[in-house]
Amino acid sequence: MLTQRLLLSDRGGMLVLGLVVLMAIIVPICNLAVPGDSPLHVSNFTVGLLGKFLCFALLALSVDLIWGYAGILSLGHGAFFTLGGYGMGMYLMRQIGDRGVYGHPELMDFMVVLNWQELPWYWQGFDMFWFAMLMVLLVPGLLALAFGWLAFRSRVTGVYFAIITQALTYALMLAFFRNEMGFGGNNGLNDFKEILGFDLAAQATRVGLFIASAIALVLGYLACRYIVTSRAGRVIVSIRDAESRTRFCGYQVESYKLWLFVFSAMLAAVAGALYVPQVGIINPGEFAPLNSIEMVVWVATGGRGTLFGAIVGAFSVNYAKTFFTTYSPETWLFILGGLFVLVTLLLPKGIVGLFDRFRRKGEK
């Protein structure tokens, strides 16, 4: 019954999810078991790249849930992603212990440089993995709750909401750039050593993180599917299409928007937490407003309002980004801008919509 509802009723989603699972099985085997000179070997670089893409796909899913289904355009999801990343980064920093450059048993290198004497209160507890993970969910969740409560209660919608979410992520960026904030300022958190006792430099750990990202993506997808196929999901679509009608049907529109926003923020935070150990650094640059806009482009390109479309979009746009930034870095921003214009004009339903159109033509 539940499998029917979550998977079988959605062929595109099943296909994309199948590909993700297949990738999560084949890539580790081809990386670890197949010898380096074989044509089937997958390089360490590719594993890292695909792991990053998986995190981006989860992030795109969270943007699509709020934008595609509830019609709330958030241009500040990078804030939740980065906060989740910082949560994980703080745990990884605490794992360094006295192996830092200055060898202080408790303080981070940047704190020693700032001549701090003791660990700030908000760094307490992050040496415990479970506590750090709890914070990864709670801090962005609470921020989204407070921010969303204020915004939705005053019935801020549309462009205005998009602008204030941009302001939110920009404000956080400025705050985190300051050294006195205690998050490493400009340099952010880096030079991580190990996670849960596993060496982060070891390829087996990296493959483990890759698989964890794939699992998170699958679970995140199923959770989103559960929400959008429930009655609450239909209420959310109704809010998108006819907000006042929904209100006069007796639904408290604001609380639906609020809880969906909070869930979406937490999903983005999980993506951030998985991203950081794979790239080995988190700095305030991730808060940059442009990042949050890029996420929206992924979703628009893939197909807004279909969950698997977000995954397709995140993979294809990021693949294109990797390709173009390698071969001609200057052109990427133009291509990104052009892509957004093209998608808006020609492909309002994204890549997924394109396939749908072909299929319908085929049936005719």
């Binding site: 429930s230 009655r231 239909r234 679509v237 006069f248 049907c249 639906y256």
Partner: protein, 278 residues
């Protein structure tokens, strides 16, 4: 209101403070023993100095079908906004039954409590099927966490089937609502109000843009609701009003100009003047 008047108002000898009144709740049965189900008293609303409603008084009896007519800008839609909680009036009171002060409640609470509203332009959930539209509107617990894992009970399903027959869309229940004709959309919206089991239905221009046959069907539908629900219809189409109404209220410049049967109202010289121009 200046502070002195406010003080006088507060210390009036017959003042009843809110705290000694029972809290408004929709759970207890509605107290309508004096007749009216809806009391709109001395309500005034102004937008930037323009008085949309000016000491409006209106009483709707339980189970009656009332038509409200009036020229453009007479305050018909504003009146509906006030009753459904969309607009808060500057002064006056609106009571549902004798106990429930609607001015203290939010839109969704009023809707849950039994006042349904149909908009001028048909607003339905176009992306969903006819059945899903009715399912969403059905009276039930409408909190977020509840709807996340909720299925219709047999009783609710029966009620939806009943309403589908009533609005004549039984054969279309699987169809996407956006693909319905204009008239069918209007009926679906009325159906969405009916599954909420409202005591009062506010219907704004139900026959605008309908064909003759559709108008007739709508008239039948609305008159069949009489008795079970109180229905307030705002309409421009005089022939339609004549065909369904036994009591008509004429609004003009935000207050009641005349009230009575269609014939009485039409022969009232003030009404004639307002409609035919000075």
């Amino acid at each position: 209101m200046n502070p002195l008047n406010r003080l006088r108002e507060t210390w009036r000898p017959d003042q009843v403070f809110d705290l000694v009144q029972p809290t408004p709740t929709f759970d207890k049965s509605l107290d309508t023993k004096h007749g009216p189900i809806l009391y709109v008293e001395d309500v005034s609303v102004s937008f930037d100095g323009f008085k949309a409603l000016n000491n409006l008084n209106l009483y709707i009896d339980d189970g009656e079908l009332r038509c409200i007519i009036g020229p453009n800008g007479a305050g018909k839609t504003t009146m509906m906004d006030v009753i459904t909680g969309k607009t808060k009036p500057d002064s006056g009171s609106v009571y549902f039954g004798q106990r429930i002060n609607l001015l203290k409640l939010s839109e969704h609470a009023i809707a849950r409590g039994g006042i349904g509203r149909k908009f001028q332009k048909p607003t339905i959930f176009e992306a969903l099927s006819v059945f899903e539209n009715l399912e969403l509107a059905t009276a039930s617990n409408k909190h977020v966490w509840y709807t996340l894992n909720h299925h219709l009970s047999g009783e609710q399903r029966d009620r939806i089937d009943e309403v589908l027959t009533q609005i004549g869309l039984t054969n279309h229940y699987q169809q996407e609502a956006g693909a319905l004709s204009h008239g069918q959309k209007q009926w679906l919206e009325i159906g969405m109000l009916l599954v909420q089991n409202p005591r009062v239905l506010l219907v704004d221009e139900p026959v605008a843009g309908m064909t003759g046959e559709e108008v007739e069907h709508t008239a039948q539908l609305l008159t069949s609701l009489k008795g079970r629900h109180s229905v307030i219809v705002v309409e421009h189409d005089m022939a339609f009003v004549r065909s369904i109404a036994n009591k008509v209220t004429v609004l003009h410049q935000g207050s009641v100009l005349a009230e009575g049967s269609m014939d009485q109202v039409q022969s009232d010289p003030r009404v004639v003047e307002v409609y035919l121009g000075e």
